[in-house]
Symmetry: D3
């Protein structure tokens, strides 16, 4: 099967990190296809960025959806996920969503740990959107600046380990999600230095996408994820406009 | 004071309806400024539309925010609202949000009544985003098609009255929100034919925006609505890119 | 329009503070009418006080409701609010309710900050009555005694600023409500010294009451805020007894 | 032990019904003391009535509390309960509260069934105050008028049985509370004609009050039910004013 | 009346403690019957233990249920309680459930305080099962080991008092439940040294069981606690197999 | 990898159905190992059955856990799941849990549809245990008896399709879970006749178990799923007693 790893940010180095971590868990028959946004921001970290990124994610998906069996929106926070499930026939998985759902099978209470405080508000909204507030021990971020997105997981490795162990001790987390695409792959590296299971977002997303393809669900023709009726538009990327108009 | 009525849809006839209803409640000293999207869809009615519309709302706000004292995102569902509160210094109010908050002062339990079933999923997400599930008796829509957005409130007047009275009787609503920009102004028309108070979205939004301007809140310099740090972007509308980059 | 500022406490100096802050935000055409309880306690600060004050608020409203377009129950905690909405035809707004609803448009998460710990239990019940627990970062009070109700906002100004900034930092509040009638007017004074927007209860209530009058909602004839059927009573203040008996 | 059965309504015939049902479950050593309001309404059935009744309940308790080991506020809805727990040293139990808590041990999900629709809003607020929404299958009332409070349980017996059995079938209730003081004693009468356990409010309250006396809890000197500091008042019933002032 | 005190653990010394505390509150006409598990673990303190103990509780109840008027599952956490309510005709009360429900009448917010951190996860699940999360200020445990179950309440008395007073101060608890069978009787001993009411689990359970017997509820013939249809089984304790098969 | 399909019921024909459906989605490298309970009931369908089955599931897991990479508790309701996660080092997945989590990626709101009303109470408790009430449109069961567990999916096929389509229409479900081991494999059969995606419990569980093995989480050494300290026991199955005693 083919699974799209859609990075709605413009930083190819982050896509590389995502792909490396994704490959490490993909099953033999899975082909992962990377896609990096050609417009947008280098890294989504606010609600404003996410609003912009949601539309971009749809523009990207419309280009690729017929070539793959499932897609992953590979930014923690899952911009555009709900709309994507309406518009397209393939399963679409959000990286945050997948991480949280996988974490639910590893503990009663998961903590989300990330590298920058600016991400917390957006993650909080994503948590509520998923209805998983009752399963979450909290969202925790490192204080202070970092040098580069591409290196943040190495630069902050020790601090992230300390924070993860602290939220287990003080907030009763049974499992810790390492959140944010730049932390992709870190879970495996520090696995033995945190006292509870770690969940890597992109890896969870790959396994969930593989699982959904195996389950082979039909596209809804009713309910809230049926494809919307045809609608005209102005000034929207051509392929997306065409999809909205049901010209395909 | 000047208040922007931002219609993130491309249908000018709906903007006209919004403005007419808005003027009816605006205080003497309030100047209402209309703005209709020049790109996007004629009417947002799905999560996919809302994802596209959220980015468009930000593009529109960036053009107008310095000219007004407050802004209303005048599509029930409030696309882009969270991001707008981060990026801009003026109060920004969502039409759905305003309607629900005003309704809370008129009853324990509000119902949301609208003219098309396709709107319900998006409204549901907006309700949850506002954390008001416990105050809501339900979201109810007419069945069947309608002829034109601009006339739907007249075409469906009788059916909307019947539905509104029914949700009071069967679902215990104390107050009914008539939801969706095309229903602007209808509340006043049918006021005596529904047995509980009605809330008109744009009218609630105007009064809430006026109220916020009067309260004169400062822009947050901390918390989750402080303006985000400067960030580069690619392929984003120029003025919005400039705002993201904090060039103003 | 005329709006009643009903202080269900017996302290006229607090009514004065309320009126001063209220006038500062009232629109030109709004006439504010002050009313101070002639029986009751100097300041409601417990559930027992609130139970007594609820009946008193109704006794006061029955005297004044025909002379005004809307009324504000101007004690944070909103004694008698539900009953008032049943008995009277005009909009009635609670000061706590108004503050919380206005705060919802200025942040995801509001904190309530007050000057005395004894107020917290009652405020907590009011928060739950409004169904806004999910939007609240917490209710926080200064420790220690104060010299006089009338001066407490000056006496404790520095401590309140420190506490407000602390709850933003430590509890993630996006907006802070300064709660309790004796703090009326303080928000404007310390506006620049707290890092997030402040909400002044009476000012929020004035703007909300003005807004409701502008919306011109009908009195419910069904639902849970329809006026109750006529009922006799014994030993209840004469005008209130008459209202219960539907003699007017 | 002595337990006060405080009817905050003025209808002595209802007090008689309460006492008859109460005696049927009281243990041998329990002496029940009846008290009927000498001011107020014949039957509390709205939020406005409850606001008035809350103050009256406190006035009554202050007269009797030193003579008994515990008190029951014997109106379903529990007017004044929170304030009573602050002001007095003895356990005070609400009839609605007791019924709901006892019902929790007889089923996952309790229904509240009553004889008049006007009672539902007040009961709903009481349910929320107790934080038991998640345990409640719904509040259900007969339609239509009744002839007399004193006879309503006989007049409506068949209809109440039908309604009770219906809410089990259609709403999944495991246990049914027969709510409202005028229904006191009915549960025993119709026990075999409803397919799930029934809870009689006053009987549950007697057993809960007996239980609390047996547990012999201390009066809180901290927490939110510690007795409030002394406070002056004007125009409040003399004994209650004295209690507020801590003159005893 | 006869009430079974069923200890699903194998430690007779704990049963003795339970009985001593139980006798102290039982009414004159109540005969308490002790039963200690003959198989299982000395003390249930994990979800795994509880899974084992749930089946054991049913095996014990089937032996004794016809001889008593009500039964108490006397391990905080209430193993097997739901199943017991299905299978047997008498009221069955859980010790944790009873403590929490009694605590609800003594405060808005109860804290659960226990002697070993290992118990917290199981107690948390029990709290959720009862739907009382909103009434709970938290579950708190002493750190560190203890010498013997039978003596832990004396060994840790000072630490438990300190912890109880601390959770009142820091977490706003109005009432404290001393949780875990080995703490039976401690509440009376330390009553004056904690600033809020204490609830002793077994004592609450005895009063609740007595109360339910007095209420004389019928066995459900519908709803989710009706007795299940006959079912065969293999390798289940003979008397329990017989009960499942409805051979009695 | 090897995955245990643990049927805690004694009906081998149901295990066969589970295995057939499981094989249909298992990846090439996955070896599924079937295990049928040798004691217990033919089909768990009540809380009492589940209490018995929880202990049995642990007894079975202790025999098999070292031979597999993950285990599935293959009864909808997940008896013993929490305890299993404490005691064993491998990932353990519940069939209900897996179905609900997979369903979350296919819709906002999932319905659970099953073949017998007696199952609903237990499923309801499982839903709450997972904290997913807010994502569930309801649990729905066919009325009436069925002839045999092994054939129920064929016997009731038409009725299940009708019910599934009805809950989409009337209750807003976006996705339907076909619940209960005897329905294993039905989802694929009726895929085109229900208008939304269907989730087959055992198939979801296989994909989730495979996913967790791929994620390679460490066993918690802290948090609430760390392995409990050694504990003696009496009369517990020998291997389980040994595991509790940490003799391995």
């Amino acid at each position: 099967m083919r699974i799209l790893v859609l990075n709605p940010n413009t930083t190819a180095a982050v896509t590389d990190k995502l792909m490396l971590a994704a490959q490490a868990v993909a099953r033999p028959g899975t082909e992962l296809v990377a896609m990096t946004a050609t417009r947008g921001v280098p890294y989504i970290s606010s609600r404003a960025d996410a609003a912009i990124g949601g539309a971009i994610a749809l523009e990207m998906l419309v280009e690729a959806h017929t070539e793959v069996d499932a897609a992953i929106i590979a930014a923690f926070g899952d911009p555009g996920l709900g709309g994507a499930r309406e518009l397209f026939d393939i399963p679409v998985v959000g990286m945050a969503e997948a991480a949280m759902l996988s974490a639910c099978m590893l503990g009663r209470s998961f903590a989300i740990v990330t590298f920058a405080g600016g991400l917390v508000p957006w993650y909080n909204e994503c948590l509520d959107w998923n209805g998983l507030r009752g399963r979450c021990a909290g969202i925790f971020a490192l204080q202070g600046a970092f040098n580069s997105l591409a290196d943040v997981q190495h630069e902050k490795e020790a601090a992230l380990i300390t924070l993860a162990n602290r939220v287990v001790e003080e907030h009763g987390a049974d499992v810790v999600i390492l959140a944010g695409a730049p932390l992709s792959g870190l879970a495996a590296t520090i696995r033995e230095r945190v006292c509870v299971p770690l969940v890597d977002g992109i890896q969870a997303a790959v396994t969930q996408a593989e699982g959904l393809v195996a389950l082979n669900p039909r596209k809804a023709s009713a309910g809230t994820f049926a494809r919307p009726p045809a609608k005209p538009s102005i000034g929207v990327a051509a392929a997306l406009a065409s999809r909205l108009a049901r010209e395909d």
